[in-house]
């Protein structure tokens, strides 16, 4: 129950954007060779994180708790999320679920 409430708060606190976001984003997770880099990303509340796909195959980023998800990212596509709630956000690629990472958000 606690987790569920947390997920709802997180969903309300996240905003997604696509396209030309890299220049102004605060942190980047690159996706290459079926790996999120860095696998663990430590950020402060309010940071916008851009996921950028550098592989020749699409990937799709989604939080394990369902609080955020991108559309399918083709090569060189990117998606950004702003994390406004502290916590640990585990995510994975819904196409290749062995690919996993974490965003660790501190106040």
């Amino acid at each position: 129950m606690k987790l569920k409430q947390f997920a709802l708060i997180a969903a309300a606190a996240l905003a997604v954007s696509y396209g030309d976001a890299a220049a102004s984003s605060d942190a980047t997770v690159s996706i290459s060779n079926f790996t999120f880099k860095p696998g663990d990303l430590h950020i402060k509340v309010g940071t916008r994180v851009t996921f950028r796909n550098e592989d020749d195959i699409p990937h799709r980023v989604a939080a394990v708790d369902g609080s955020f998800a991108s559309k399918a990212l083709d090569s060189d596509d990117q998606a950004s999320f702003t994390f406004t709630t502290p916590g640990v956000f585990a995510y994975f690629c819904t196409l290749h679920p062995r690919m996993q990472g974490k965003i660790i958000v501190t106040p």
């Binding site: 060779n33 592989d55 699409p58 799709r60 559309k71 399918a72 585990a90 196409l95 679920p97 062995r98």
Partner: protein, 315 residues
């Protein structure tokens, strides 16, 4: 494997390597679980086709829309594969497509795929790959096109020439850290579907991701695939056909034959032979040796299924 003398009389091991690594079309007859190489594609294929009551084709991983370095012209290699289908002397009964029809689930990609794959005028039985369900509707485009009359996320069975065919979906609701996934609803449906089948009924099961674990580190397996195999264990002849890994890997276990098909779009590396399982770049003159289609000849009575893999080279 270019040495003619060596391929003329292949030992089982040599022939298998030949299929997997050199892409030579070697015909296999599977009888009582023991694979027997009949020789090179050509005369043996013709002899087998004449004996078999019917043949069907497996096509896989078309990835319509893929245009990256590993094959900038994936639509052309699909057209070449379909050209081979149209040129077959003995018309196959139907085709199965084991998923990743499209690269990004775009409506135009589904349209192009349907137009090209439909050219030979054969019935095509589809199951989705994970690339077919990434539209904004989370699979709505696939369901609208291919979901009619099917169960759940698109699983189904049908009978043809006395063989029971089962199409399974193992690319939905994938769990973080996991492999392919069928889910309890589909497994319950399968148990019910098989319940009245006689042990002697030949079974062909097809799904996108391998139902057996080829290489877990790359996600090449299905978490609850073992439950499917358990349900199929009592049958005398089971053939499991998968795609997803863009290369041929074959295994015989008891009465079960496992076989993965080549893609018509791009090859992927052998398990663990690269940092990641993405599209593999090969010299342009080798590409068509690594793409292809699969032909299955079914001979009823003695229960052999002959699986022939044909490359696009020379077409």
């Amino acid at each position: 494997m270019r040495d003619e003398d060596q391929i003329d009389h292949p030992s089982r091991r040599q022939a298998l390597e030949c299929m997997v690594w050199a892409g030579t079309g070697v015909l296999w007859t599977v009888s009582g679980g023991v694979p027997k190489s009949l020789g090179l594609l050509g005369t043996a294929q013709a002899a087998e086709a004449a004996r078999a009551p019917f043949t069907f084709l497996q096509i896989s991983d078309s990835h319509v829309g893929f245009n990256k370095a590993a094959n900038p012209h994936a639509i052309d290699t699909l057209k070449a594969a379909i050209g081979e289908v149209k040129a077959l002397a003995a018309k196959p009964a139907f085709m199965i497509h084991t998923g990743d029809i499209t690269h990004l689930s775009l409506a135009a990609q589904f349209d192009d795929a349907a137009q090209i794959i439909g050219e030979p005028g054969l019935d095509v039985h589809y199951v989705p790959g994970e690339h077919d369900l990434v539209d904004d509707g989370n699979g709505k485009l696939y369901a609208d096109r291919y979901g009619k009359g099917k169960q759940g996320a698109g699983w189904y069975s049908f009978d043809d020439h006395g063989v029971h065919f089962i199409g399974l979906v193992n690319v939905v609701n994938l769990k973080a850290g996991g492999l392919g996934n069928l889910g309890p609803e589909q497994l319950a449906w399968l148990a019910d579907d098989l319940k009245d089948k006689s042990n002697s009924a030949p079974i062909v099961v097809f799904a996108h991701i391998p139902l057996w674990t080829v290489y877990a580190d790359w996600g090449w397996g299905t978490d609850d695939g073992a439950q499917v195999l358990q349900l199929l264990r009592r049958f005398g002849s089971v053939t499991v056909l998968n795609g997803h890994i863009h290369q041929i890997i074959q295994k015989i276990e008891g009465n079960m034959t496992f076989h993965t098909a080549r893609s018509t779009a791009f090859p992927q590396p052998a398990p663990g032979k690269a940092p990641a399982p993405g599209p593999m770049k090969v010299p342009a003159d080798q590409l068509r040796n690594m793409l292809g289609i699969t032909r299955v000849a079914v001979s009823l009575g003695s229960q052999p299924l002959a699986i022939t893999d044909e490359t696009l080279a020379g077409s």
